[in-house]
């Protein structure tokens, strides 16, 4: 027995050492990479639901080939994302990879994609600007919009409709919130709004104590722009409410999402009327969106009450991967060149409207301007105020002009 076991083990070891097993002719291997550990686990799991939703819709078939899904996990750090991507590509031999979830991960995976020209990479939900804007990779496609696009229309809205002239900024200290702050402030400041540098507060991810930030908020601002996610947003809102804060809020794309709106307590009343913008709107009354939500709820009864923007982004990217596969009849034999050509020219209708790619393979899609209201059953929901059609990555200006704005960061734009 032992001898046999040892032999089997050895055989397995040799087989696995010998490198990626060649995919059978009638199967295409697709990898999905999301944060299934660490601070963003819950979000990563919802991203995976988006992948499964799209695959289920196609019955795990595309272009006459079976799709075999292999999952990988990162912990939101770029190192772990690249390690997981490398394992999926070099060991499991996936030909298409969907992921990753978070901004800095996307930048790292894009760099890795350049070393694997035969493999086609589609983004998950990562929304940092430079993943596609500067030094893009030929084989990295992003069918979701980036963090600056998500803010489209919000700066104009709070300046014109809400009448805010001066705002304080509170955001987490990494690439995705930089992109969001840039997307919000760029139009806001162009219209004449102010966001003084000393009223911008950058906190680490997972910050628990906001008392020092709250104490140093200036009195003469009209509102606070808050770009925090998940538990960070809840912690800040609770502490700000307890400290007696009464400034109106403006929300980033993941600040007033389901995790915050679903929470109990007085924070609820406090966020009513908060405007925000993002790639989805929970309450958009549109047949395609309603169908998407219904399918999500049916397939994942233990998921969120409504798909998060992570599920949406992973769904859209996986869907794009499958549609392009149909177009080339599942033929990746030329190292995927024809497939990538098909992806570049792909235009299709997502649950949130039509999407196509620009020349740097970043999505042009609709953005939703929303505001928190109290729903009919006393629950909080994001009401759709306006759908901003077909927002591109350069926010309406030319590529060269947009590059001149400089890289996103803590002090961009300076608003002076």
């Amino acid at each position: 027995m032992l001898g046999l076991g040892k032999k089997l083990l050895a055989a397995a070891a040799i087989a696995s050492l010998a490198g990626p097993a060649m995919a059978q002719d009638d199967t295409i291997k697709m990898g999905a990479l999301a944060t299934l550990e660490g601070a963003f686990t819950v979000l990563g799991e919802d991203g995976m639901r988006g992948v499964e939703l799209a695959l289920e819709e196609h019955g795990y078939m595309a272009g006459g080939k079976k799709i075999q899904l292999i999952t990988g996990s990162s912990d939101a750090s770029p190192d772990s994302a690249v390690r997981a991507a490398r394992k999926l590509v070099e060991q499991d031999g996936v030909q298409i990879l969907v992921g990753p979830l978070s901004g800095s991960e996307g930048l790292a995976v894009k760099d890795y994609a350049k070393t694997q020209p035969e493999v086609t990479f589609l983004n998950g939900s990562s929304a940092a600007q430079d993943t596609t804007l500067r030094e893009p990779a030929e084989n990295f496609f992003r069918f979701n919009t980036d963090g600056a696009q998500w803010m489209a229309g919000l700066g104009e809205y709070v300046y014109n409709e809400k009448g805010y002239r001066k705002v304080a900024v509170l955001a987490e200290d990494y690439s995705f919130p930089y992109t969001q702050v840039f997307g919000f402030l760029e139009p806001f400041c162009r219209l004449g709004g102010e966001a003084p540098l000393d009223a911008r507060f950058w906190v680490p991810i997972g910050n628990k104590d906001y008392s020092s930030v709250i104490a140093s908020l200036p009195d003469d601002v009209d509102a606070i722009y808050v770009a925090l996610g998940g538990a960070d947003a809840i912690n800040f809102l609770t502490q700000y409410e307890q400290a007696g804060g009464d400034l109106p809020l403006i929300g980033g794309s993941i600040t007033v999402d389901q995790t915050v709106l679903g929470s109990k307590g007085r924070t609820r009343d406090f966020v009513i009327g908060t405007p925000s913008a993002g790639p989805i709107s929970d309450t958009w009354d549109n047949p395609a969106w309603n169908e998407f939500v219904a399918a999500y709820k049916e397939q994942f009864p233990d998921g969120f009450p409504s798909p998060s923007l992570f599920a949406h982004a992973y769904y859209v990217n996986t869907k794009a991967a499958l549609l392009a596969l149909e177009e080339v009849n599942g033929d990746l034999s030329d190292g995927g060149a024809a497939y990538r050509e098909a992806l570049s020219n792909l235009e299709f209708d997502t649950p949130t409207g039509p999407v196509h790619l620009d020349e740097r393979r970043n999505a042009v899609a609709d953005i939703f301007l929303t505001e928190v209201i109290e729903g009919p059953e006393g629950n909080l929901v994001n009401k759709t105020i306006e759908v901003i059609p077909q927002v591109d990555q350069t926010l309406g200006v030319s590529y060269e002009e947009f590059l001149a704005y400089g890289q996103v960061g803590r002090e961009n734009p300076t608003c002076e």
Partner: protein, 355 residues
């Protein structure tokens, strides 16, 4: 043995065949392993093992469990990005690679000596706490310092140089470089443990008061040990930065710091081979646990594996092997009396085995 090697008194028969086989296997490994196994499993295990080796040296011979070894490695990685080249546009002074590497390793070793100077007057759990505090402080410092360490983003595009026409980031050259470094420090630690410095360090571990009474400068010995372990960790840190081609606060986070302790403890702290065994187990689990089980539970597998290893063998996998070997040996000795040889699992051996 090494001393005899220099005197030319060594012959082939002195070399343990197991070691020779191991060396042969490690040298031939890239010829049958895929690029993925060469680079991400092989080289990465060797590098993590080398960092853990620096901890093993401090803990096993000096009795000082320092959680700041990865911090020292990360510091060296940061220095390579700062003095050398990176693609982020912050710092990146563009020094020649060999100056950068030497400065990074020496500075890391000095940093390690400084950590030693702060913590050597403490014992046991207090050393762990002080070094953990240093590791956490370093993590928060690099995350919040934007001028030098570029904050949360850290540095990307940190690549090894092309020397002798070889791109050292290619899997096979990188593997051999890692293997050379790991083997060099492995032998250095083995040799050092039998040198007079190593012996007095072990004596200090066992009875510092007696050594002090004998006239040894205990504190200085310990700080010197920290410096030497800093050389090991710093070299591995430079390699790790090249391996990831980046270094960021995530590379020196508390979870990674703990990983190194886990690797060293699970592998075994009594012999320099232990950290490498621990590292291989760790890297394999990290990469393949997700294939074994439902993806939402795979961290549980990793945790359970380490729990079992520590539960059943407090001195690591190496200790397990030692015990197994002792048992085998005693059962082999008992064999003539038992009349008939047996396999380990109790089934009778074929008759030819007896002759």
């Amino acid at each position: 043995m090494i001393r005899r090697l220099f005197k030319g008194e060594i012959s082939l028969s002195d070399i343990n065949p197991a070691w020779a086989l191991l060396a042969l296997f490690l040298l031939a490994y890239p010829s049958f392993a895929s690029n993925f196994f060469t680079f991400q499993i092989g080289a990465y295990s060797l590098l993590l093992g080398t960092v853990a080796l620096s901890l093993m040296m401090l803990a096993g011979y000096g009795g000082m469990v320092s959680l700041a070894q990865l911090t020292v490695a990360g510091f060296a990685g940061y220095l390579v990005a700062i003095f050398g080249d990176n693609s982020v546009g912050v710092m990146g002074l563009g020094w020649p690679w060999w100056i950068t590497v030497i400065v990074a390793i020496l500075a890391a070793a000095s940093f390690s000596a400084l950590i030693g100077a702060i913590s050597v007057r403490t014992e046991g759990i207090y050393t762990i706490m002080i070094t953990l505090a240093i590791a956490v402080a370093f993590f928060y410092f690099v995350r919040q310092n934007y001028v030098i360490f570029n904050g949360f983003t850290g540095f990307a595009g940190v690549l090894p140089p092309t020397v002798f026409g070889v791109d050292w980031r290619d899997p096979v050259p990188f593997y051999y470089l890692s293997l050379f470094i790991a083997a060099f420090f492995f032998c250095a630690v083995l040799y050092g443990a039998r040198s007079s410095f190593g012996l007095s360090l072990q004596a200090i571990r066992d009875n510092p008061r007696r050594m002090r009474a004998l006239g040894y400068n205990v504190t200085l010995h310990r700080i010197a040990a920290y410096f030497l372990s800093g050389l090991i960790a710093g070299t591995a840190g430079v390699m790790l930065a090249w391996f990831n081609s980046r270094v960021s606060p995530g590379s020196v986070g508390v979870d990674v710091v703990i990983d190194i302790l886990v690797i060293a403890v699970v592998g075994g702290l009594r012999h320099p081979l232990g950290p490498f065994i621990g590292a291989i187990g760790f890297v394999l689990l990290e990469n393949f646990a997700i294939d074994l089980i439902d993806r939402e539970r795979f961290n549980t597998v990793i945790g359970l594996a380490f729990l079992l290893a520590v539960l059943f063998s407090p001195d690591g996998i190496l200790g397990l092997w030692d015990r197994l070997r002792t048992k085998l040996r005693s059962s082999r000795n008992a064999r003539p009396r038992s009349g008939r040889a047996q396999w380990e699992d109790g089934s009778p051996a074929p008759a030819s085995e007896e002759s």
